[in-house]
Subunit: 664 residues, 2 copies
């Protein structure tokens, strides 16, 4: 039964953004804006006061912004988030009796009606307003109320006063909000640092960083590799697990069930006598070495991201010390990982249905906190979709409460709703289906879903053309042009993207077998020696693309993405721009790695703020070639073997006072 | 901070139908079905048990229906509502360990693996199941567990038992639901009687029912008019306010500000010395006469609906007895209704911002209860959008708690979101924009919104081609064909519709002045004498259309509405069918009241369950002409002056066992 709401006449509903009825927060990065809309209306036709209210979660005081009517009872306002952590927002409204009275008085005067009683009503309203004010304002309002009430003065004089800007402005400072309605939910924004939105990742195996072929690489070797990674313009250096690797059931080269004596094992088979998730693989060095690497990376503009894979090798200390965290089979052995009929006997999954789940969750939280203490603030979480959803909401919430600068990347290549749920629960960034979206319609469809629907409020995609687990068919068969075009797509469709190198820049494309996405001689099971100085490396191309990303803020955000028609199914064109339109990027990619494709591009000039009648400049940032374009239709032609993509910066031409055209 | 959810691994989200995060109920009529869908999934790939739970609000016990997977983690089930009042529903799910184990066992066996330990795991699961069972089931489960555990029996034998239907079925009766997740909201269905969904309204002014011109009609005269109304097939007789009419500032003919001595005033200027909202206008008769009318109507299959207009004439008893319910102006007078610069000095609106609002709300509730005590169960509420929204949710909730058979029709011709909010708050039916939707694209757009979006869950449209306030331009200028086509549109697009008669069937079409939607010599301000036996009356046509509605259940529901293309902008075609497809109606309307229009109709055969290769029968229910059609494309041609519309019943031809075609 609904309780009686009495004189609360205003309704607030349809508030956006709002995820699942307010169950989940939206996400923003520092400095971004939250645009809030709501349906706000009351019975009748009175004038409303409508406000967006917002505050940092820890603040008691709400700041307010007046909302502007958009028509059809829809209102809009926005606020900027400037501090890490959580903000709250909601919407409220009230019937503004003075504004209503003022509007009606004006209408009556316009119709030539006499308004003596109306003026007395106004006097009363202003007097009541005065009671909510104090000091000078109160005295001023009382004076005006007295004047409006003076029957010895003409209606015309008093009406002029009643409708004056002065009166309106002062009265508006003391609205009667006693009958105010506040939306029945407080909504939450999680505010991350900028890198959660704009980041450029490079994944490498430290053990393959040794300059001497065959020798196990160390953190020190990895340090020596930093200038190389930095030279390509990356800002996150992501390391697969760095922990001791189990020997029991260790996998050999190419995932063979029998490891040879020299086989180093998979870094994801975590844990050995030397320790588990808070230990460092001895052959990589010491914890001290790791901390040095973190610091050295920082001096190169690189932040180290760690892989958190909550699973154990049979030799992990947990297996002995916390048997209660594993599922024990009737024969007394520990249940290994399975995907029937496949068995992964080198991996023991944790049993999250254990009665001892609380201790287990606390331990996993401790793992994050341990690495935070070593200076790590970015975690790539392995297979989060095989652990309980509740764990992630709980642990990310707790960690971010103390360290709001922590970034979590969800590695969940799984069903769409599972991916979305993990993002809602708190992951700052998410792996996604980009690796398998290759055709024009696939790319347009998928990126429309990611950037134009509610999904964008909580899921930030991080685009990976390859990973140690994913060598796509496209890369296997497309040659160098395929690597180039996928790099450009990842780097310009996504504000965040990453590559697994040096496999990527060296064009590694041989699958373990036909039909497989696994690499032949995968680095997951052996130490590689990469010839990073090979002349055919894409290193410089990647460096150029990443510099373009850094220099063009349009590419540092996802939401402005807009596709433009090209009359060729192999050519994809899209633009991004900054909110103020000052930085405007147009990308054209030839999706075929084999053939030259040409076509007419139909730029949506209006969306880009360009005029049909005036030429505009297009600078290809990859080649530095300049073009002068006019109108929406422009011819493009891309040969994948020379340049599979073009990244144009478009510049509007401005008319100066002297009517002299020049380029911005 | 999210609390730790521990072993609850299942997620339930995206439940539909759900209005505003569960804030508002959905609506159904008795006997209808609620189809519920939800996204349900867990971490990993375990098999889930998913149930729809539902109950009557007053019951403690939840009934459950298993939900079927639709793919993409979406599940569906439904339940039928059979009792008036409120139901609750929600969705729950759990990880089904036995079903998971069974699926994995089958996969392993298929791959030729040995499964000795798996069988022991199964024995344990069945044994645990036994502990949740009792009696014979418990003993049986224990026996099976023992057998699975017998290492002296072959794996093959034991596997056969493990995978047997018997085991599966018995185990499924005792699932382990200790880790079950229940959706965090209980959603509500309001169940109304069938008339809330399917109703045929006739509005008349009792005071115009006198057989003698010039004499004020009475309830007794109205009784004599019942056979006439019933002969047209209506089932709701809706009366404008029947209360004493004020004399102060009474409006004269054609809304003139000065009433002549004989002018009866507007029934909406409610209240005089004789009483207010619970009194009867003396010239109509007594309360006893009214109750007789209600009973007599019932014997003609008609239910009397009353107009509830919460506003007062200056002579209403409330004005003296409850001055605190009105706004008092500084000069001591009561504030009359205004829409500046227009003044309505014959109407005093109630002041819902009064401090005495609680007493006021209680009094208004008493008005409803008073008329319920006189046998009324249908109320048409006048201008609900000028009273606080909260009042309606409160009063409808309270009335329906005691009288769940009460129907409320919202007369809110106002902004879309306000209309929708009123429907969400509890109104059973809603006036809507039908009167002003005349072109093909307007009709398709509007009825798609009403019947294909979430709106249909809470808003039931009631379509009125005319009302005493609305004589549309279309009817003013379209002549008899316009009245016929609008009647057919209202009666077949809407399961509920109504007309204001006898103005409608007599084709009354003269506006007060050009550009006005008011009737000339409007019945609102004077007593009319209608020549109901005029030979050009649409009475018989209306009767035929209403009989078609009664005989064809497809027309008694709104949701199956589907538009079909016709290559002529003046021809509109649409179908409706019953859930089982046994009743299938196709309507074609010529929207132009002036010219014959012809075109090719392209029936969506698949949607209608018709085969392209087999002819089907089309019977025009208005003329009883039979056609044999084949294929999707059929030629239609409608002359507005003979038949502006056709209402076809389509019949599939069935193949009998003897391969003999006949019509259903």
């Amino acid at each position: 039964m609904q309780e009686a709401t009495g004189p609360r006449r205003v309704v607030v509903e349809g508030v956006t953004p709002e995820i699942d009825g307010g169950r989940f927060p939206i996400k923003r990065a520092c400095g971004e804006t939250v645009v809030v809309e709501a349906d706000v209306f009351a019975d009748g036709h009175d004038v409303l006061g409508v406000r967006l209210a917002y505050r940092r979660e820890q603040d008691a005081h709400w700041a307010e912004a007046p909302m502007e009517p958009l028509g059809n009872d829809r209102w809009r306002a926005s606020f900027e988030v400037s501090a890490l952590g959580r903000y709250r927002y909601t919407v409220l409204g009230w019937v503004d009796h003075f504004a209503t009275w003022r509007r009606d008085l004006a209408k009556k005067l316009e119709a030539g009606q006499r308004v003596p009683v109306e003026l007395l009503v106004g006097a009363r309203l202003i007097q009541e307003t005065g009671r909510r004010a104090s000091g000078d304002d109160r005295a001023q309002l009382q004076r005006w109320a007295d004047e409006l009430g003076r029957q010895d003065r003409s209606d015309a004089d008093r009406s002029r006063l009643a409708l004056s800007q002065d009166v309106q402005q002062l009265v508006a400072r003391y609205p009667d909000r006693s009958g105010q309605t506040t939306y029945d939910r407080e909504l939450t924004v999680v505010v991350d640092r900028e890198k959660a939105r704009f980041s450029t990742w490079y994944e490498l195996f430290p053990r393959s960083c040794s300059p001497i072929p065959g020798r196990h690489g160390t953190f020190k070797d990895c340090e020596a590799r930093l200038p190389y990674v930095a030279s390509m313009g990356f800002d996150v250096l992501y390391l697969p697990p760095i922990h001791p690797i189990g020997t029991t059931q260790r996998k050999g080269r190419n995932n063979s069930p029998d490891a040879g004596p020299g086989d180093p094992g998979s870094p994801w088979a975590i844990g050995a006598e030397e320790g588990g998730h808070t230990a460092v693989h001895p052959e990589l060095g010491t914890l001290e070495d790791f901390r040095r690497l973190v610091a050295a990376a920082q001096s190169h503009g690189l932040e180290v991201a760690l892989d958190i894979a909550f699973q154990c090798s049979p030799d992990h200390p947990y297996v002995k010390e916390h048997r209660e965290w594993f599922r024990i089979r009737p024969d007394g052995t520990v249940q290994y990982a399975e995907n029937p009929p496949k068995k992964y006997q080198d991996i023991y999954p944790l049993d999250f249905e254990t009665a001892a789940w609380q201790a287990l969750w606390q331990e996993l939280e401790r793992v994050f906190r341990f690495w935070i203490a070593q200076g790590v603030r970015i975690f790539r979480v392995d297979n989060p979709h095989t652990k309980p959803f509740g764990l992630w909401e709980w642990v990310i919430g707790r960690i971010q409460r103390d360290h709001p600068d922590t970034i979590f990347l969800s590695e969940a290549f799984t069903r769409p709703k599972v991916m979305y749920r993990l993002a809602k629960l708190g992951f700052s960034q998410s792996y996604n289906y980009f690796p398998w979206r290759n055709t024009k319609s696939e790319l347009i469809g998928y990126f429309t879903e990611l950037t134009r629907t509610e999904v964008r409020e909580y899921l930030r995609p991080n685009l990976w053309p390859n990973t140690p687990d994913i060598l796509t068919e496209y890369l296997q068969h497309g040659g160098r042009p395929a690597f180039m075009s996928r790099l450009v797509l990842a780097a310009t469709l996504g504000a965040s993207y990453g590559i697994y190198g040096p496999a990527f820049e060296l064009g590694e494309h041989r699958p373990r077998e036909a039909g497989s996405e696994e690499y032949l001689d995968s680095e997951k099971y052996e130490i590689k020696h990469w010839a990073i100085d090979r002349p055919d490396s894409l290193r410089e191309f990647i460096g150029r693309v990443n510099r373009i990303r850094r220099e063009n803020p349009a590419l540092q955000h996802d939401w402005s993405l807009r596709f433009h028609p090209v009359d060729n199914e192999s050519l994809l064109a899209y633009s991004k721009q900054t909110a103020d339109g000052s930085n405007l990027i147009l990308v054209v990619v030839n999706l075929s790695p084999h053939h030259r494709h040409s076509g007419w591009l139909d730029v949506d000039l209006e969306a880009l703020g360009l005029e049909a009648e005036r030429p505009f400049q297009a600078q290809d940032l990859l080649t530095d070639a300049y073009y002068l374009w006019q109108g929406s239709r422009n011819y493009v032609s891309l040969d994948p073997h020379s340049a599979p993509a073009q990244i144009f910066r478009l510049r509007r031409r401005l008319r100066t006072e002297r009517d002299f055209d020049y380029f911005l």
